[in-house]
Symmetry: C2
Subunit: 314 residues, 2 copies
């Protein structure tokens, strides 16, 4: 009745409220959850190591926008990062047990079936990034990674570069695959040969970008442009380029992906493909909340546009 039913007289309501105030009564939310089945919390689940979660501004940006969107809706965010199998198991029990109304799932690897299991247990789940399997039955929000890869590669190609290479992300993740696909499609569209020696596999991290670049330069010292699949990787690319005596933005031009805040602060400032990180987080959260509300006219797939941000490295 404290919820403010319509069919209660005003003075009765006031009286009860006053009394509640007086004894500082607080409704027991667990009891409410038990009967309504709603906990008013949603989970933000990241399948990465703590190290990566906190080193990559992409995840932090997503956490920030999700936290804001959830707060606006009046719910709370349960923040979990899982890497060990036991953590996964515990989270599954927690979510299935009704402690959260839904989950935002980030950084799914390979053919991991966690989202399917959550859905099977009745927990609505929204993914960040297209899943490698089960795309037809899962809900996800993604940036247009293919277009982004194409945009970056095209720019390098059109600015007269002869040997445009790419340092990829991890290929067990769709973002890694798609950005590479964008690179390939741009190379083909320009009528050039797809040369696999120009593709070096990284993992979105700075260290990975650095190592991948060193390996790349080893076999192709003539590279004069690199599209890196993430900004962090691009920082590693730039470092490797410098260490091997190349001038960045001159001998070799570089484009990153993400447009994390640090990209603009580097010198030279990094040219990159901007993902709309705040919009991604907000859209995921809204979609999840709508699903929790029971709406069923919602698109399983939402793809947000990306945009090339020209700075000094290309």
């Amino acid at each position: 009745m404290l919820r403010g039913d319509a069919k209660v007289s005003d003075h009765a309501r006031d009286a009860v409220h006053a009394a509640a105030q007086a004894i500082s009564y607080v409704p027991n939310l667990a009891a409410r959850t038990l009967v309504t089945g709603r906990s008013d919390s949603i989970a933000f689940l990241v399948e990465e190591t703590e190290e990566r979660m906190f080193a990559d501004p992409f995840f932090l940006g997503m956490l920030r926008s999700a936290q804001e969107a959830v707060a606006v809706a009046g719910l709370q965010l349960v923040f979990t990062v899982v890497n060990r199998a036991e953590d996964r198991q515990r989270f599954l029990a927690y979510a299935a047990g009704g402690h959260v109304d839904g989950v935002l799932l980030l950084s799914l690897h390979g053919r991991d079936r966690l989202p399917q299991r959550l859905e099977a247990l009745g927990v609505p789940t929204v993914l960040s990034g297209r899943p490698l399997s089960g795309r037809r039955r899962l809900w996800y929000v993604d940036a247009d990674n293919v277009a982004g890869g194409r945009l970056a590669t095209n720019h390098l190609l059109e600015s007269g570069r002869r040997h445009v290479a790419t340092v990829t992300g991890p290929l067990d993740m769709c973002a890694g695959q798609d950005r590479l696909a964008g690179y390939r499609s741009a190379v083909e569209a320009a009528g050039r040969d797809l040369d696999e020696s120009l593709v070096s596999i990284g993992d979105f991290t700075q260290a990975g970008g650095h190592a991948a670049t060193l390996a790349l330069l080893e076999r192709r010292p003539d590279v004069d442009a690199i599209f890196a699949a993430s900004d962090l990787a691009a920082f590693g690319v730039v470092r490797a380029l410098r260490e091997t005596g190349r001038r960045v933005g001159d001998d070799v031009t570089v484009i990153g992906f993400d447009d994390i805040p640090e990209a603009a602060e580097q010198s030279p400032a990094l040219t990159t493909v901007r993902q709309p990180i705040p919009a991604l987080g907000t859209t995921m959260t809204r979609l999840l909340l709508d699903r929790i509300e029971g709406r069923d006219d919602l698109p399983r797939r939402t793809v947000l546009p990306v945009q090339l941000v020209l700075r000094q490295t290309a």
Copy 2:
């Protein structure tokens, strides 16, 4: 019974487990919470803007270590940042309603009575940093800010600097006050006059440090050493110093506070006072969990030591 009571025969237990498996039964945690009064979640509450929460590596470091420590204990973390009054109210209802077993409270400002209210509602609370009021009745974990301020100031004084200034943190927070107190005590101990024109008020942010330094240099162009109350502020100090044509580490030496990862990556690398951020987060979490367990032999006050890290700016 599924919890694994001691007094159940083995074969009965196995039979039940098998059956549970078969129908993929998952215990309803809300019902359990209702009767046990435990939700197996604790809150990580930051009283800052989202902007500051995500811009300051101190908070991120605390979030990370708290998340790790909570996961080890098998609980979940509810992550909330509140700035508007309505967010506070909603959080209070959420916590008091039993959705969390305790709260880790960061960045308390002024004489905010939020922790007292939480405790009054039966929600154990552990603070990061000594509260400005109610210190006798609250639990907190803090770094030794006074000693840190003294350490930094002493080093500047002993290296022969003549006009050692300080750019403070916000003075409505105990960390800001204590680091300034450390500065003052070092100046006095060295037998020098306390010159208030050498104290410039900042707010722990880079922009604040920048502005405070500009104001400081305006009235005291002869300053040749600055102790900044946070690393972020120190970055602002360095920028202001450069903009006014001074050589950092030479014309003016600088010491920061925190030792966030970025401090070592600057050039010149920042000399700073290291706070044991991971230990701070872990200690807070352990203390909170112990309180939740009902232990009552726990110290209300825990102060962890800090240490001067010499790099290039001083």
